[in-house]
Structures are given as structure tokens and as C-alpha cells.
């Protein structure tokens, strides 16, 4: 029996190691062959041309734009939702609203993509875009912003809730309004937890593929406007994976390496932030122990 447990434990680590090794073994030599600068900063993606060129800079920029904008949308709405749930909405509604928001997290991303294609893209095309183009960064960011809402809301709500309520009462007793108490005392006290949620949301956003492909257009062009068909790193891999082979396929794997590095950085900063929050709580407990 012990063998089974051990194998299960090792299996996931093995999977991680295999994926990482696969990515780097197949991707890194290709980057080296093409030239690091030419691959990362090259602006021309034409893998099927007679003289193929593999520059993914437009995709990197598009990924960063979409991620930044979606996180801005998701955090703007999500943080205020969490605050509303925390102190400004009737207690009876908190549990049902939270449950519904969590349901949002369970919807498959392809459904989000469909929703984006049929509702958001036409809306952006008809009412927002000056050029009448619906597919693009804005639509993708809106869809992604909705997708990351559950993460932002639940992490922010939990960090707000874990702040001692005595701070809140103390602030009210000093003549602060509910808003002042929440924004000046509770929010700063919950800051690191919320930040960790933000990093998690960024990770989801940069890695999302399906929903993005369906609303972003897909042309590997340098993003110049919010309403222009572009392509993210994830979209690049998914769109080419089934039809490209040889060097072009290696280029996709190399794109994966870049994406992997991005998410790795995010994950590491997430665990660092989480650790810091944990330390702080432990610290507080220690001090309480000393006091008594």
C-alpha cells in the first residue's frame, strides 16, 4: 500500500518535471538557433513563408495588454464586490451571492468564449469601437475580467474577513464612517492577502486560451488599438498546434517556454506574498501570547 501512496505522490512531481524538461529541451534549442533577440523581440511571425521568420514580440505585447486590462477590470469590479459583501450588503444576501460568484468559476472557458463571441463582440463592434471592429483586446479583456472575478472576490473577501473586527469597531468609535473604516483601516490591513489574489488572477488571465481565441481575432500583428485583431501567446500556441510541424512546431513550443517563464514568475511571487501574509498572522499570535 505504501508503494501506491508513494507513487501517487511522486506522480505529480514527475509530471511537473517531465513537462518542464520537455518544454525546455524542445524549446530552448530553437530559441538559440533563431537567436534570442530575434525570437523574443522579432515582430514578424510567418512560420509558413518560404523564408520563415519567428518573432513573437507582438504576441508578448498582446498578452501583456490583455492581461493588464482584464486584471484592471476584474480587480476593479471584484474588489468592490468583496467590500460590498463584507460590510455593505444585508447579511442574508452574503452567502447566496458568494455561491453564485463561485458558480461563475465553474463555467467552462469555452462557454465564456461563446458568450464573448455572441454578446460582447457584437456589443463592442456596434457601440464602442470607432472602427466597427468587435474582435480584439477590449473584448478579450472584458471576457477575461469576468472570468477572474470569482478569484478576486473570494480571495479579497477572505482576507478582509480575516482582519480582526476590533479594528473596524475601533475606527467607528473614533468617528469614522463605514467607508472610512473600511478603506483606511480594513483594506490596508488586508492588503497582502488581496495582493496575492491579484497575482493569482494575473496568472489565470495570462494563461487562459480558449475564451481568448474566440474573441481576440487572431492576427499576429503588433497591437496598436484596443479594437484590432491580435494574438496572445496562448492563442498562438493553440491556433498553430494542430497544423504546424517541424521548425514551426518548435517555434510554438518555444512560445510555450516564454509563457511558462511568465507564469512561473507569477506563481513564485504568489507564494512569496502568501508566505508573508502567513508570517504576519503568526507574528500577531505570538504577540498575543506574550501579552497574556
Amino acid at each position: 500500500m505504501r508503494g501506491v501512496f508513494l507513487f501517487s505522490a511522486i506522480f505529480s512531481i514527475l509530471a511537473l518535471v517531465t513537462i518542464t524538461v520537455f518544454l525546455f529541451i524542445s524549446g530552448v534549442p530553437f530559441i538559440a538557433k533563431t537567436g534570442f533577440a530575434k525570437f523574443i523581440f522579432g515582430s514578424d511571425w510567418a512560420p509558413l513563408a518560404d523564408d520563415p521568420s519567428y518573432g513573437i514580440f507582438p504576441m508578448i505585447v498582446a498578452s501583456l495588454y490583455v492581461t493588464a486590462l482584464s486584471v484592471l477590470i476584474g480587480i476593479g469590479v471584484g474588489l468592490f464586490t468583496a467590500i460590498a459583501l463584507y460590510k455593505f450588503c444585508p447579511k442574508k444576501l452574503v452567502a447566496p451571492i458568494r455561491q453564485m460568484i463561485n458558480l461563475l468559476a465553474g463555467i467552462p472557458s469555452v462557454i465564456f468564449g461563446l458568450f464573448g463571441m455572441t454578446i460582447i463582440v457584437p456589443f463592442v463592434r456596434d457601440y464602442v469601437s470607432p472602427a466597427g471592429v468587435g474582435y480584439g483586446i477590449l473584448s478579450a479583456s472584458l471576457v477575461l475580467g469576468i472570468m477572474i472575478l470569482p478569484t478576486v472576490v473570494s480571495v479579497s473577501f477572505d482576507s478582509l474577513n480575516s482582519v480582526s473586527n476590533t479594528y473596524y469597531e475601533g475606527a467607528l468609535a473614533l468617528g469614522a464612517t463605514k467607508e472610512q473604516a473600511t478603506f483606511k483601516i480594513m483594506l490596508p490591513a488586508a492588503k497582502s492577502g488581496i495582493l496575492a489574489g491579484v497575482v493569482l488572477a494575473i496568472g489565470r488571465s495570462i494563461g487562459e486560451t480558449m475564451a481568448v481565441i474566440m474573441v481576440i481575432g487572431g492576427s499576429p500583428e503588433m497591437p496598436e488599438s484596443l479594437f484590432q485583431s491580435v494574438r496572445t501567446l496562448t492563442a498562438n500556441i493553440a491556433m498553430g498546434a494542430l497544423e504546424l510541424n517541424g521548425d514551426a512546431l518548435s517555434a510554438l513550443i518555444a512560445t510555450g517556454v516564454v509563457l511558462f517563464v511568465f507564469t512561473l514568475i507569477l506563481n513564485v511571487s504568489f507564494s512569496l506574498l502568501k508566505k508573508e501574509t502567513g508570517d504576519k498572522v503568526a507574528d500577531k499570535k505570538d504577540r498575543r501570547g506574550v501579552k497574556k
Binding site: 480582526s164 476590533t166 479594528y167 469597531e169 475601533g170 475606527a171 467607528l172 468609535a173 473614533l174 468617528g175 469614522a176 464612517t177 472610512q180 483606511k184 483601516i185 490596508p188 490591513a189 500577531k284 504577540r287 501579552k291 497574556k292
Partner: protein, 199 residues
């Protein structure tokens, strides 16, 4: 603050300085400014000592640093904790001892220049030395403002209070000068309570 307590029940009229505090017209935030509150457990905000004290004045829109500095120093002096903390105003308030934290909370209330200070068992979580310091402080403060203190410690009540009220299960049983209440209580229940033969 009552709104935060679930199942709270109120009867009668509540007036502070002639103002009905549950009147719709009354601005609760002004009321909370005039009535400071110190809690049973010290609850300094997780920020620097300076910011703790400056919180109330900042809330009322004071931003000028010289004015804030003055309020912070004045409040800390009035709470007789200035000498202990003046060199570490920028340090986190959670690093102080329990007694210091409680005096910091009193100073923080004073920074809002209240007319009445409510203290809900302010010393029950503290050691005797810190308790002594806080009682001294209350003696000093009661010259300028009204202090309403809830305590289960009858010696404490006789030491510091001018007037005493005895509540039992939410009912006001007896109210009068501290000396009268403790030496010749009118109500039998009061007598049983102060002589420790309750229940």
C-alpha cells in the same frame, strides 16, 4: 455602535448633552466623535503609533503636518504615554505591551477630542501594574471629560468613580454617589452583589 450587536434591545430615551442620540436628525459620526470609546481588549490599528493617533483627526479632514504633530503629541501626553513612545512613533503599534496598547487606544480616543469617554472594562485584560497606570490616567482625565466605565471590579469602582450605577441583566437597579452605593445600598440586590453573596 449598537447596530453592530445582534439582538440588541433598547427601551426609553437616550440623551447625551440634551441630544437624543437615536433621533434620525442626529449625525452619528459627529456623535461618535464626541463620544470616545475604549474597548475591553486593546485594539490599536496595525500601523504606526503616529498613524494610530492621527487617524481620527485625519478622518475629520486635518492634513497639515504641524497640526497633526501637535495633536499626536498632546494626546499621547494626556494619556501619559508620550515619554515611553516618543522615540518610536513610526514603529508598529502592535509591538507595544498590552498596557501600552491600551493607553495608546485611550490617546487615540482623546485625539478626537471627545466630551464623553466610554470604557468597556478597559483593564480586565491587563496586569495590575498596567491597571494602576490606567486608573491614574482616568483620575487625571475625569477633570476635563466625563468617563463612563464598565467594570466588574468593585474595588476599581470605589477607587475611581464619583457616581456608580448597578445594572443587573440590563435593568438599572440602583444609581447614586459611589460612597452611598457601596456603604448603604438601597436595593437588596445591590447589597448582595457588592458583598459578594450574589446568586
Amino acid at each position: 455602535m449598537n447596530d453592530l450587536v445582534e439582538g440588541c434591545r433598547m427601551e426609553g430615551e437616550y440623551r447625551i448633552g440634551g441630544v437624543d442620540i437615536f433621533d434620525k436628525e442626529t449625525d452619528v459620526n459627529v456623535l461618535r466623535k464626541n463620544v470616545g470609546m475604549v474597548f475591553q481588549k486593546p485594539n490599536p490599528f496595525p500601523m504606526s503609533i503616529y498613524d494610530n493617533i492621527a487617524f481620527a483627526p485625519r478622518t475629520f479632514g486635518i492634513t497639515k503636518k504641524s497640526v497633526l504633530d501637535e495633536i499626536v503629541e498632546g494626546s499621547l501626553r494626556r494619556a501619559s504615554i508620550w515619554d515611553e513612545v516618543k522615540d518610536r512613533l513610526r514603529k508598529n503599534a502592535l509591538g507595544m505591551s498590552g498596557g501600552q496598547q491600551q493607553r495608546l487606544c485611550i490617546a487615540r480616543s482623546l485625539a478626537a477630542s471627545p466630551k464623553v469617554l466610554l470604557m468597556d472594562e478597559p483593564t480586565s485584560a491587563l496586569d495590575p501594574i498596567s491597571t494602576g497606570k490606567i486608573e491614574e490616567l482616568m483620575e487625571e482625565l475625569k477633570k476635563d471629560l466625563t468617563i463612563v466605565i464598565v467594570t466588574h471590579n468593585m474595588q476599581q469602582a470605589t477607587r475611581i468613580a464619583d457616581k456608580t450605577a448597578f445594572f443587573l441583566l440590563g435593568e438599572l437597579v440602583e444609581y447614586g454617589n459611589t460612597d452611598d452605593i457601596f456603604i448603604s445600598p438601597k436595593d437588596e440586590r445591590t447589597e448582595r452583589y457588592i458583598t459578594g453573596r450574589f446568586g
